[in-house]
């Protein structure tokens, strides 16, 4: 009020724009800002008109761009203004009706956008609209019921249902809770700051500014949003009676998700906000459930599991979070077997980091490994924890009942260590040359010369050379990189065909049989140094799956190799694109040409690798492989994880599976694209 009439237009503009940015960004504050705006309106109506004009302009822009969070926050803010009396209730209902009209004739994913906007606003405006515009509000609710009913909630079920509720759709859950006739007034919404200013605001007058938006920009493709699935395990009566109603739970989940989306890449700030949120609303279990739900969300979680794990670990230092965290993790791990593989792996990743961050104080009792699938999940979690810290440290922290779950400490196994064997003699000769750091050319010349003292040749020589190299490289990843950098050329010369390339992978697997981490990393580095090529790795993986029909455990590692490879190919394409940009920025024409070629190569390679992978899946599945269940699950995992890269190829892939019993998976996954 003091600065509203300032003559400094720059300062006034700064006030306006900051106010508007705060209103649209701070998702928990619409009622606070509505109260402030209403109080200012009592003495400075022109300034408030300017704010509202700006806000409506932003609302229009967010609607056109399909920005859900900001549009929702503004709509709630306008609803609070309606509650106070600044905005005409009929105008507000009309606004909501217009949004629903827009939802009426659009595609499923655009319809969800408009429906979500309206449904999530209703708890905030329900009382006000019922009181001021009951007939119009009833008409709105009827049309909303019809629209929700026509949604195809079977579009995809990527997180397998493990609770007894029929629907796992977040939008439908929210609507069902809101429209349930026995619903009490949500506690969380009853504390409106404007209630404290009732007397002052009794005389507030309606604004002249009309609350209207246009839908002239028919770029509805931008407004794509499909409500995520909801996994909630927390019932209405949770620890300590945190909430009174299902709607409370839905609102708190939404608030947390909005907070996560607001604090983009600022985990410290997010942690502080969440802690404040928990302390204010006394709902630690629901906050954690919403966070973990985001980890499991398919196809794409907003952030990677590590981001959430570090946020949760930070929250865990506050003792109010510990018990709810233990309860949730203990419950979820019981249901591990019901997750889609991609969600399951994210959960394992998440849990392993959370445990690693508080290894000394972790309460192992909550995850007691008494039954499967818990034991299976815990084995994987421990394997990941062991990759993050020393073996001895983890062993010292584990209770006795967990000891049988931890894998053997990774140690390389070299075949040529048998004393007196020809391999040992030849190995000593090769290792001497490694110790002397001879160049690749000298090494090659030595191995191929007729006077060479090494007796092995062909496949045996390749095998031996790889064993010696990997033994020397086993000290650290830096040693591995140095050895590959120096001797990649030698390996490529010894390796004449694809069969021998596959032999290299066999050697790696035999040396590091008890360490998937080392197998994956060595293959990854070898692709970097062009010792292995992507198509050969794909062929190897599928050949292994085809022949090892009874070794179900091996599938895990084979598919990990495949996932790592696909990720690698994408990154190499990305790297070429980045290098190209850098070269263009400094006008380095040679580098531009070189990187254009590299980008074209890796772009083609990426496309071909994905097509090959799905063709091999097709072959496996149509050959009546006994482990079809695992193979289908892994195929879905790849389709989910790499959905962006597969999108342009999806119709071709789906065509190949047409007419088979697996076609339904691709129809289901179509909604990802």
């Amino acid at each position: 009020v003091k600065y509203c009439n300032t003559k400094d237009q720059g300062f006034k503009e700064m006030m306006l724009s900051t106010f508007v940015e705060a209103i649209e960004s701070l998702t928990l504050k619409p009622s606070v800002y509505a109260t402030a705006v209403a109080l200012v309106h009592l003495s400075q109506p022109n300034f408030v008109d300017a704010i509202c004009e700006r806000i409506l302009d932003h609302f229009q822009r967010h609607l056109d761009a399909g920005n859900l969070r900001q549009a929702k926050t503004i709509l709630i803010f306008l609803g609070e203004l309606m509650n106070i009396g600044l905005i005409n209730s009929f105008a507000y209902v009309t606004l909501l009706s217009n949004l629903l009209n827009e939802a009426e004739n659009t595609l499923e994913t655009s319809r969800d956008y408009y429906l979500t906007l309206v449904v999530h606003t209703l708890p905030y405006v329900h009382e006000g609209l019922n009181e001021k515009s009951a007939p119009d509000y009833k008409t709105l609710l009827d049309s909303l019921t019809g629209l929700i009913g026509r949604r195809n909630t079977n579009a995809y079920r990527l997180l397998q249902a493990f609770s007894d509720r029929e629907f796992q759709d977040r939008l439908v859950n929210f609507w069902n809770e809101f429209s349930s006739p026995a619903e009490e007034k949500p506690k969380s919404l009853s504390r409106r700051p404007y209630a404290e200013f009732k007397e002052a605001l009794a005389n507030v007058k309606q604004m002249k500014k009309q609350v209207k938006v246009n839908f002239n920009n028919k770029n509805v493709a931008k407004c794509t949003y499909q409500a995520p699935l909801d996994f909630s395990v927390v019932g209405k009566d949770v620890i300590g009676g945190e909430v009174n109603s299902g709607l409370d739970k839905c609102i708190i989940h939404e608030n947390v998700v909005d907070l996560i989306s607001s604090f983009n890449l600022n985990s410290k700030m997010l942690q502080e906000m969440l802690l404040a949120f928990v302390k204010d609303r006394q709902t630690p279990t629901l906050v954690l459930e919403a966070l973990i739900g985001e980890v499991l969300r398919l196809p794409n979680t907003e952030y990677k599991p590590i981001f959430y794990a570090i946020v949760v670990s930070g929250l865990n230092e506050d003792f109010t979070i510990q018990k709810p965290l233990e309860y949730l993790l203990g419950t979820l791990i019981e249901h591990y077997g019901a997750f889609e593989i991609e969600a399951a792996e994210r959960f394992i990743d998440f849990l392993s980091i959370v445990i690693n961050q508080s290894l000394q104080t972790w309460n192992w009792g909550i995850l007691s490994p008494n039954t499967n699938p818990k034991r299976q999940a815990l084995r994987k979690v421990l394997e990941r924890v062991l990759r993050l810290t020393s073996y001895a440290k983890v062993e010292s922290c584990l209770p006795a009942e967990y000891k049988s779950l931890i894998p053997l400490e990774p140690t390389p196994i070299f075949r040529f260590d048998e004393p007196g064997s020809m391999q040992q003699t030849d190995a000593e000769i090769i290792k001497d040359r490694f110790n002397a750091k001879v160049s690749a050319e000298d090494m090659l010349a030595f191995l191929s010369s007729e006077s060479s003292t090494v007796e092995s040749s062909g496949d045996e020589l390749l095998n031996l050379f790889m064993q010696c190299l990997l033994q020397r490289a086993s000290k650290s990843l830096t040693h591995l990189d140095n050895m590959l950098e120096r001797y990649a050329n030698v390996i490529n010369n010894l390796c004449k065909n694809e069969v021998q390339q596959q032999q290299i992978i066999q050697v790696i697997r035999s040396i590091w049989a008890n360490s998937p981490f080392h197998i994956l990393t060595i293959i990854d580095r070898m692709i970097n140094y062009k010792v292995l090529n992507s198509r050969m790795v794909v062929a190897f993986v599928f050949k292994e799956i085809e022949k090892r029909e009874d070794e179900a455990n091996q599938y895990g590692l084979n598919f990990e190799i495949l996932l790592s490879l696909l990720s690698k190919v994408i990154n190499l394409a990305l790297s070429s694109a980045n290098e190209l940009q850098r070269a263009k920025a400094v006008n380095d024409y040679d580098a531009v040409r070189k990187n254009e070629q590299a980008l074209e190569f890796w772009g083609e390679e990426q496309k071909n690798v994905f097509l090959t992978v799905f063709k091999r899946f097709h072959r496996l599945l149509t050959s009546q492989h006994p482990s079809r269940g695992i193979i289908v699950a892994r195929m879905r995992q790849i389709a989910i994880r790499f959905n962006k890269q597969i999108a342009p190829l999806h119709s071709k892939i789906e065509e190949d599976f047409n007419g088979t019993e697996y076609a339904s998976h691709f129809i289901q996954l179509r909604s990802l694209y």
């Binding site: 940015e21 604090f263 983009n264 890449l265 600022n266 790297s575």
Partner: protein
């Protein structure tokens, strides 16, 4: 939202004065860098553990361990280069103040690894 509180422009608390770059060039390199500096590591922390932790933010292009220039032993810091800037940003945001081997590590933007920067004098602790 975070723009209301602090600038999102990457800034490094550490400045490599040996680079001898003018401030604008230094900032430009930071703005396009895909490399992060990791400090306050335990000298006993294995390279594999660092690799595993940081690969959770994205695929690693290269990991260069800091070494004592006399003894060639780990020195408590390293550089991690990612394929994409987005992944590096994840690392800076998610892993600053995370723990590795019970030590709170420091992760910061870096202008990019250049041969020679891996050697530190480091004090034994």
């Amino acid at each position: 939202m975070a723009s209301l509180y602090e600038s999102l422009r990457p800034k490094s608390e550490y400045i490599d004065r040996r680079s001898r770059l003018p401030p604008e060039d230094y900032q430009r390199k930071l703005d396009t860098s895909t490399t992060v500096y990791v400090g306050n590591l335990s000298v006993y922390t294995k390279e594999e553990c660092i690799y595993e932790m940081f690969s959770k933010c994205g695929d690693i292009k290269k990991l260069i361990m800091g070494m004592n220039k006399r003894t060639y032993t780990p020195c408590g810091f390293c550089f991690v280069e990612y394929f994409s800037r987005e992944d590096a940003a994840y690392a800076v945001d998610s892993l600053s103040q995370a723990k590795l081997d019970d030590r709170v590590i420091r992760v910061d933007w870096d202008i990019g690894f250049v041969e020679g920067r891996q050697y530190g004098s480091c004090l034994l602790y």
